[in-house]
Amino acid sequence: MITLESVKKNYSAEVTIGPIDLTIPVGGVTALVGPNGAGKSTLLTMVGRLLGMDEGGVEIAGYDVATTNSKDLAKIVSILRQENHFVTRLTVRQLVGFGRFPHSKGRLTTVDEAMISRAIDFLGLEELEGRYLDELSGGQRQRAYVAMVLAQDTEYLLLDEPLNNLDMQHSVQMMRHLRRAATELGRTVVIVLHDINFAGHYADRICAMKGGSVVEYGTPEEIMTDEVLTRVFDTPVEVVDGPRGRLAVYY
C-alpha cells in the first residue's frame, strides 16, 4: 500500500501543498480529482519520487521513496507524467523497450521482448510499432508512453492525466485496461483525472483535492453526490443515475 505521512511542500509563502496524510490500499484504481491548482499532479509527482518534499514521508509497499535506491523503486512503482519533449529518434517498440530497463538494464531477452509485445498489443499499437515517435499523433505517442510504463511491469502505477490527448475510444480503452490490470492482476493504479465521470465509473476510491489539501476521500458512492462535488469543484453539480452508474452533470 501507499502511505503518505504529513507530506508537505512549500512553493512560496502563499502556495503550500499539504500537510497530507493518506493511505491508499493495495489493489484497485484510485482516482485523484479536483479543480485546477489543487496540487494533484504535485502530489502524484512526490509519491513517484520525481519531486522532493519539504516535510513528511511516503512509503510504497514498505519502501521509503526518499531513501530507497531508485533502481529498486523502479521495479515496484512506475510513474508517467505528461508527455516529455523528446530529442532522440525512437520507434514505438524501442520506447516501450525502455520499460524493461529496470529489469534487464538494456539487454533485452526473449522474455523482455514478449512483454514488450504484450504491452504494445494491449494498447493497440501493433501497426505503429515500427514507426518513429515524431511521426505519430499526440494521442498515439501518449499510448506509446503508457505502453512503456506497462512493460515496466510494476505493482504500482502512477499516471498523471493519461487521457489528456486521447479521443473517446482510446480513453475508454485505456481506462478499461487499467481497470483490468487492477482487478485481475491486483495492481494498484493511482491516476489523476480531470473527468469526474471517468473517475466515478472506473475507480474504487476517489481522493478529492482542493487548495493543496485532501478534502474528500472515499468510494464513488460517497463522493459522487451533489453536495460533495459542488463543494469540491466550486460549481453546481448534479448527480443523476445513468444507464451504467452515477453521472455528474455540470454543464
Binding site: Y11, L51, G52, P236, Y251
Partner: protein, 342 residues
C-alpha cells in the same frame, strides 16, 4: 453587470440590463515624485562625469577647450548610448517575452561588429556614417535571424532562448575573429569592439544622436511591442499588423545597436541588467517603467565609466570590461533567483 444565470444557458433575462459601470482605474501618472528624484540623481551622476578625469580642466591652460572637446561629448555619448542600449534590451524583451534577451545575448552586437569589420576591410577609408550603415544592416539581418529561430521554439520564456542566442553570438563572433585574423586586423578589432568612451571627441561622435530618435520612437511604439510579444496569433486577433511591428522593432534595435557599436563599441549585458533591475523594483508596468529604464541605463553606464576612469588612474579600464563583470554577476543572480525547488 448582470449575474450569470443559474439555468446554464445564457439569456438576456427579463430585466433590462443596466449599463455596465466603468470602474475607475487610476492612470499611473507619468511625472511622479520618485521619477523627479530619479531624474535629479541621474543628472547629478552626469554632472559628476563631466568633472572626473585626468586632465585638470580648471587649472590647465586649455582646460576649457578640453572640456568642450572631450568631456562634454563623452558625457553626451554616455547618456545617449546608455539610454539607447537599455531601451534596445527592453524592446527585445517585449517582443520575445523573455527576460534574458538583449542585443549581446542574441548575437545582434556580434553581427554589427561583423558589419563594421566588413566595411573596414572593404573600404578602409570609409567615413563614420558608412561604417554605421554597414553595422546597422548586418545588425538588422542578425536580429531577423534570431527572431526566425525564435518562431520555432515553443517555450519562449525558457532559459533555452538565451543559451541558443549566445551560441549564435559565439558563431558570429568566431566568423568575425577569423576574418579579422586573416586580414591582420584582429588586435585592432579587439580594441574598437571593446566598448569604450575614451575616444569620443567632438566632431567624431555626432551621428550618435541618431539613437535619440530611436529612444523617442520606442516611447511612442512600446505598447505595440508588448502586444506583438504575445505571439502572432494574439496580436493579429487584436488587429495589430504583426509583421510590421516586428520589422519596426527590429529596425529600431538594429539602428541603436549598429550606431552604438560603431561609435562606442560593445556594451555587454546593459540591455539585460537595466530592464530587469527596473522591473525588480517597480514590477512590470511598461508605461511608467520606460523613463526609468532610460534613467537607469544612463546611470549604470555613467557609473561604470567613472569607475573605469578612476580605478587605475591615469589609465582607463574600458567600460565593456566593467559591464561584462557587472552584467555577468547580475545575470547569474537573476538566474539563480528564478530557480524552482525540485
Amino acid at each position: 453587470m448582470t449575474a450569470p444565470s443559474q439555468d446554464g444557458i445564457g439569456t438576456a433575462t427579463a430585466a433590462a440590463p443596466t449599463p455596465p459601470r466603468r470602474s475607475r482605474v487610476p492612470k499611473a501618472r507619468l511625472f511622479t515624485w520618485p521619477l523627479l528624484l530619479g531624474l535629479l540623481g541621474t543628472a547629478a551622476l552626469v554632472t559628476l562625469s563631466l568633472f572626473v578625469g585626468v586632465y585638470d580642466i580648471f587649472g590647465a591652460e586649455d582646460g576649457g577647450h578640453m572640456f568642450v572637446v572631450t568631456r562634454i561629448p563623452r558625457t553626451i555619448a554616455l547618456v545617449l548610448a546608455g539610454a539607447a542600449m537599455a531601451m534596445c534590451g527592453l524592446v527585445m524583451q517585449l517582443l520575445t517575452q523573455n527576460r534574458f534577451v538583449e542585443p549581446t545575448t542574441t548575437g545582434t552586437t556580434e553581427w554589427a561588429g561583423l558589419g563594421l569589420l566588413g566595411v573596414m576591410i572593404l573600404m578602409p577609408e570609409a567615413s563614420l556614417v558608412t561604417k554605421m550603415i554597414g553595422a546597422v544592416v548586418m545588425a538588422f539581418i542578425g536580429t531577423m535571424v534570431f527572431f526566425a529561430f525564435l518562431r520555432r521554439v515553443t517555450l519562449k520564456s525558457s532559459v533555452i532562448v538565451p543559451i541558443v542566442g549566445m551560441m549564435l553570438a559565439a558563431v558570429v563572433g568566431a566568423f568575425s575573429s577569423y576574418i579579422a585574423l586573416s586580414t591582420n586586423m584582429l588586435q585592432s578589432m579587439g580594441i574598437w569592439f571593446a566598448g569604450s568612451f575614451t575616444a569620443i571627441l567632438r566632431g567624431q561622435y555626432e551621428p550618435l544622436w541618431i539613437v535619440g530618435i530611436v529612444i523617442v520612437a520606442v516611447f511612442i511604439v512600446a505598447d505595440r511591442f508588448t502586444v506583438a510579444g504575445l505571439g502572432e496569433e494574439v496580436a493579429t486577433n487584436v488587429g495589430l499588423n504583426y509583421r510590421r511591428v516586428l520589422l519596426i522593432g527590429t529596425g529600431l534595435i538594429a539602428v541603436a545597436a549598429g550606431v552604438v557599436t560603431v561609435v562606442v563599441g560593445n556594451l555587454p549585458f546593459l540591455g539585460l541588467i537595466v530592464p530587469n533591475i527596473v522591473s525588480m523594483f517597480r514590477g512590470d508596468d511598461l508605461r511608467s517603467n520606460l523613463p526609468w529604464v532610460c534613467l537607469t541605463g544612463i546611470s549604470v553606464v555613467t557609473v561604470c565609466d567613472i569607475i573605469g576612469r578612476v580605478i587605475i588612474m591615469p589609465f582607463e579600464v574600458p567600460v565593456s570590461l566593467i559591464l561584462s563583470v557587472l552584467g555577468a554577476v547580475v545575470f547569474i543572480i537573476l538566474l539563480l533567483r528564478g530557480r524552482r525547488r525540485v
